[in-house]
Structures are given as C-alpha cells and as structure tokens.
Symmetry: C2
Subunit: 391 residues, 2 copies
C-alpha cells in the first residue's frame, strides 16, 4: 500500500423525506444566499423543487435559481452561473439533480472566487478555494455527491475534462433513494454502469498488497450485481435503490481507492465518445469497459481472474487463468447487456470512421501527452485498437 | 435500510513517516496549546514521542504532557487531565498511543468545557462540545481514531461505560503502520480480535435488505482473516499491518454500520470481564464472541450461515443451515485461537463463581434496565448462560 491522505468531510442525510431538511443543512454549513442549480423540468414536475424551496424558506434563506444543466454539462452554463452568483452575492451553491448538475455546481463554486478562467481548474490546477456546495441527489451514478471531482465539457473543441480539489467536496448531501424511483430504466442502468466503472477503475492497479481495498471494491461490485437487476425489474424497489445509492457514494468517495494506483482508462476513452456523440456516460462506459479490459488483460491476468472468481463467481481455471480472466470480462459484458445497456459502437451511435480522431483526441487533446492509462500505458494506436474492439 | 446520517470528517494521513507532520496538522486544525496524552514508556523508548515533539516545536506549538493511561482507561486520570488542561489553557488534545489513550483523550476533551462531571457523558448524555482532538495511532484495534466513541472505566464500582458524540471525532489521525510493528504478538492479536468484533457487532442486525453494508463488513472480515495470520507470523510485515490498519479504521467509522440495527452484546458482555479482571479487551472478546453467537444463533440461522459461507468459506448445508451456521462460529473460534487468543474463562483469568455477579452488573449495573442486546434481547439468566458457555 502506498502512503495517502483521506479526508471526506461531507455530511450525509440518508433516507425517506430527508430533502425536507435541506434548508436546515444549508444554514448549518454557513450558507446565507443560495443558488439552486438544476437540470430539466423533472425536479420541478416531481414536486422535489417545491419541497427544497419550502425548506429554504423555513430557514429564511434567500435563493435564486439557474436551471438548464444537461448531461455532459457544458462550460457555457458555468460561465453564466459564475456571473450570476457574483452579481447576486451568492455564497452557497445547492445542486438539485444528478452528477451533471453537481459537477456544474462545483465548477460554478470554484469559478466565483477565482480571478482567472474557471477552465484553468479543468486543465490541472488544483481547486483550493470554492463556494460551499450542498447537493440533493436524484440519480445514483456519478458519486459526485461525495467526491472532490467534477467533469465539464468545453464547448470550443468539445473537450471533456475533470477538475479536482478538496474544496469541491459537498458540505452536505441529501440521499433519498425514493427520489430515484421515477428515473427511466435506461438512466438507472447508466447509473449502475457508472458506479461499477468507478469500482473497476480503482480495482485495476499496479500496487500490490492492497487486500483491504480489493475486498471493499469487490463488496461494492457484488452489491451492484445483486441490486442492479432487482431495481431494473422493479423500479419502485426502495430497498434496492437504497443499497445502490450508498454503494454509489462509497464507490467514489475514495475510501476503497486509497493507497493504490488507479486506472481511469475506461473513463478517458469514454469521455471522447460522450463528448463527440453526446451519448450517456454510463452507456458509453458499458461499451468501453469490456474492450479496455480485454485489451489490457494480459498485463495482469491474475487480477482479472481474481475479479472473475470473487465478483462474478467464476470457477478458477488453475491451468489456464487467462480463461477465467476472460470469463469474468464476459460476465461483466453480459451483465451490462442484461440491464439494458448498449453493447457496441453502433448501438451507441458512434462511427467507425471517427476512430482515429477519437483516439488522437484522447491521447493528445487539450494538452494531453500522447500517453494515457494508469494501469497500462496506452498510445494512440492502442486506443484505436480498443475502439475497434467495440465495433 | 433505515434512515441515517453519516458524518466522518476526520483527516487521515496514512503511511511511512507521517507522524513527522503531526505539528502541521495540529496547526491546520486550530490548536494553539497542546496536551500530549500517552500511556506507558513504549512511545518514549521507540523514539516516537521525540518525533512528535519535534514536529510540534517546528510549528512553534507549546505543549504539556500527561502520561500514565492504562488499558481499560480509568476515570481518575481523566479528572487529572481535565484539571491540568483548564489550568494550562490547553485547547488541543493530542493522543499518542492506542485506543485506551485516545478514549482517555476524548474524555478529557469533553470534560474541559463542561461544567458538570464528565461521567455524565458516560451515562448517556450526548457530547456536543469538546476540545479538538488529534491522534497518532500505535495499535490497530479500537477504531477510536476515526469514531465518535470513547469507553472509560469508573474506579468507584469499576463500571466500564461508553460515551458518544460527533464532537469526539478526532480532527486528524496519523496512521503509520510501521508504528505497530514493535507490538507484542499478543497485543497485535487482541487488536485483530477487537476489529473483527466491531464488524460482527454491526453484522448481527435485525434490519433486512442491507446488502451493501453486509458485503462491506464481509470484505473487512475477509481482510482480517487474510492479514491477521500474516502479521502474527511476521511482525515486521508492513503491508499486512497497513491493510489491518485501514480495515480497523473502516470497521468502526460506521460507514459499514449505517442504516441497520447493531448488536454490541459481545462488547457489553466483555466489558464486565475486563472491568473485573483487567484482562485485555480483545482477549475477552475472543472468549465472549463464540459464546454469544452460539447462544443467539437460532434467532437468525441464515445470517450466521451467510457469514459462514461468505466469510469463512464454509459449504452451505442446504438441508441443515444450522450446521453451516455452527461451522462458521467454530471457524471464528479456531481462527482466534490460532492467532494466540485465549479460548475460555480459565485462560482469561475469570472465575465461574463470579458469573452471577458479572451477569447482574451487565444487565443492571450503572443504571442498566435489566435487558441488554441489540440483536436478541437478553436478561440476566441469558447472560449467565452465555458466561457458562465460556467455561
């Protein structure tokens, strides 16, 4: 295990009706004037927005609103939000929605007190200062509700890049599994896939002797395998959604990723797809992961065999561990298809003729060095080969 | 899953040499004058105390010292510490040692700003205010380094009782696995047992549909089963100690205990033994757990069978699940003996003739209602029967 620091000071209020305490938590964590940031009309139609506003009003907290966050959130709305907050002296950003809304809220929170262009943070500058952030989560997926990370797409060039910094961790997060019950099955499945990807990205490490985090990652994957199909079959299953919601947070607050190198190849390979085709991030990951893992498998057959046995219940082929490793990747692929995810480029709306461009942008776009991947170093030709495995 | 809140804002610095940053963290978390609280001479002899002091001096932080914390820490030293801190205007308590030292530091931290007797907190009053606490951990065991809990023994009557409150969570914790390498094997094994007990106490629940926390608890138990024997066989195994150290913290910061009822019968039954015979808490738990689990097994055979299969690798006896359940408890018992823990009352230095008194104190002592146990309600005659299973 490598040296690390871990600091996850987000306050979680989990369970039925917890959104009614939003105002109380904004006050507890020092907010005086609030920007409610959200996406489309679903949080309004469901009545959630009204409940959140009533809770702010009960605490006499003034607020303004900025909606319109879209999946793969864009820089344009972030600039708008920064300007609005400065003009209105907002000191607390409340995200009501999923990972995209939270990521956009984080970008605004970082941008308000910063003299330069907020995009600097998405080109590697650590975020040391930001307005306080609170979240009311409506989709179990990104883990952004408990993480110090944010991903934004810059419209000029359609670069999708991430920023990170302790200042971006939400002060509090409301997790009411019932709020996710109205999600369409496809979005639920995209969320399940994203959570599993966060786990695999941490699982694929070159650090040895990390039994505790290996086991925790496996535990959360096993949870997703058990609860995923239950919630797809029965969208109103509160308990299955509750287990997924806590797993989704734990998958990405890094308590199971500490002290080990991580991969993030699948995310980087996927980001090019959702940036270019605007597909759902989770759907992209469902197509990307089996391809990346197949390509990288020989780098550490035993690690993939371990996942196959411990997570997917495969029998170990002691004479040919590569068979077991492959079986585990195949089990993942079948699982993702079984919950309704796309299985190839075509189903994703991606085009073979874009592969060279996709691979080039992944490796060189927005200041990239030409090499990507935390588990196996990959060059443009490798990334091209990975995209071809998705055809 | 039940509604819950979760808030674990302790900053962890994990790895080699991290104790040299102690002063930096005291400053970061607002300390101006420090009480260094510790136990015996081992932290001085090992050179750890010198390194900690140097790090405080480097930050120009004045400090005073109070040593003498003993296992099963006592109220007498707590009163002394409270008086000392008030006299010297201390605003930060730095615990250098194991769970006993941290628990004693927490009691002092709570007592200093409180007008009444600090023992009120150990009779159920929640701790809302306390001086800031930092810890440099030297034993993986109690989990106190990341928890809001403290256990103290009151000399008058030898009552061992716990206090809890968010104000008791350390602001920071230094986790250097190398600091645990000099521990005698017996103490290391006691720590392993305590960690496993913290996991079992959470595992034994009456809440259904808690797959995510079930799986996480199982993951941490599997880690202990893998790493425990490695570290007993090779005390200098840094990596095994690192895995145990993180597992020990995760086992007790409650991220795997949220949203479910918990048991704590084994701890309560054990506390009477260490209070009366002054045995090591972990050693007591090694004798207590198999007895408690055997007594309670029929309350939920399938839960014990699940642990047997998923944690201990037993084959499920589908015709007779109780056989599997029993096999899992037996596997735990044998594991604890294999790492050097005592197996019965005699090896613990406990006496059969005290059983009635032990059971009575467990149920009625210090204001007890006569019923104990979060998993199965137990009366004095049940607790007596449990103690008899340890003979």
């Amino acid at each position: 295990m490598e040296n690390f620091t871990f600091y996850a000071p987000t306050y979680f209020a989990f369970g039925q009706d917890t959104e009614n305490d939003t105002g109380k938590y904004v006050k507890r964590f020092g907010g005086h004037k609030v920007l409610i940031h959200y996406g489309g009309g679903s949080v309004i139609r469901s009545g959630l927005m009204d409940r959140v506003k009533r809770s702010l009003e009960a605490e006499k907290l003034p607020y303004i609103e900025l909606g319109g966050v879209r999946p793969n959130p864009r820089s344009g709305l972030v600039y708008e939000g920064i300007e609005l907050c400065r003009k209105e002296n907002v000191d607390f950003i409340l995200a009501v929605g999923g990972g995209s809304t939270i990521d956009s809220a984080k970008a605004i929170a970082a941008g308000v007190p910063y003299d330069g262009d907020f995009w600097d943070y998405y080109q590697g500058k650590p975020v040391d200062e930001a307005l306080s952030i609170g979240t009311v989560l409506t989709i179990s997926a990104a883990g952004s509700e408990g993480s110090p990370d944010s991903v934004i797409t810059k419209e000029e060039g359609m670069f999708k890049r991430g920023a990170t910094g302790e200042a971006l961790r939400p002060k509090f997060t409301i997790l009411n599994p019932a709020l996710t019950q109205t999600l369409p099955a496809y979005q639920t499945a995209c969320g399940i896939t994203d959570i599993m990807a966060h786990l695999y990205e941490r699982y694929l490490t070159n650090t040895t002797e990390v039994e505790v985090t290996d086991r925790m990652i496996e535990a959360l994957l096993l949870t997703m395998i058990h609860e995923g199909p239950r919630v797809i079959a029965d969208p109103d299953n509160y308990q299955a959604r509750a287990n997924i919601m806590w797993a989704g947070m734990m998958a990405h607050n890094n308590s199971c990723g500490v002290g080990r190198t991580q991969d993030w190849t699948s995310h980087d390979v996927e980001h090019e797809l959702s940036a270019l085709y605007d597909c759902a991030h989770g759907a992209g990951l469902a197509v990307v992961m089996p391809a990346v893992f197949t390509y990288n498998m020989n780098h550490d057959v035993m690690r993939f065999a371990q996942a196959a046995v411990r997570v997917w219940g495969c029998q170990m082929d002691f004479a040919h561990p590569e068979n077991t490793a492959r079986e585990g990747i195949e089990a993942l692929r079948k699982f993702l298809i079984s919950i309704g995810m796309p299985k190839n480029f075509a189903e994703l709306g991606a085009r073979e003729e874009d592969i060279e461009k996709l691979a080039h942008t992944a490796c060189y776009g927005n200041g990239g060095s030409g090499v990507m991947g935390g588990f196996v170093p990959l060059h443009q030709q490798d990334v091209e080969a990975i995209y071809r495995l998705m055809l």
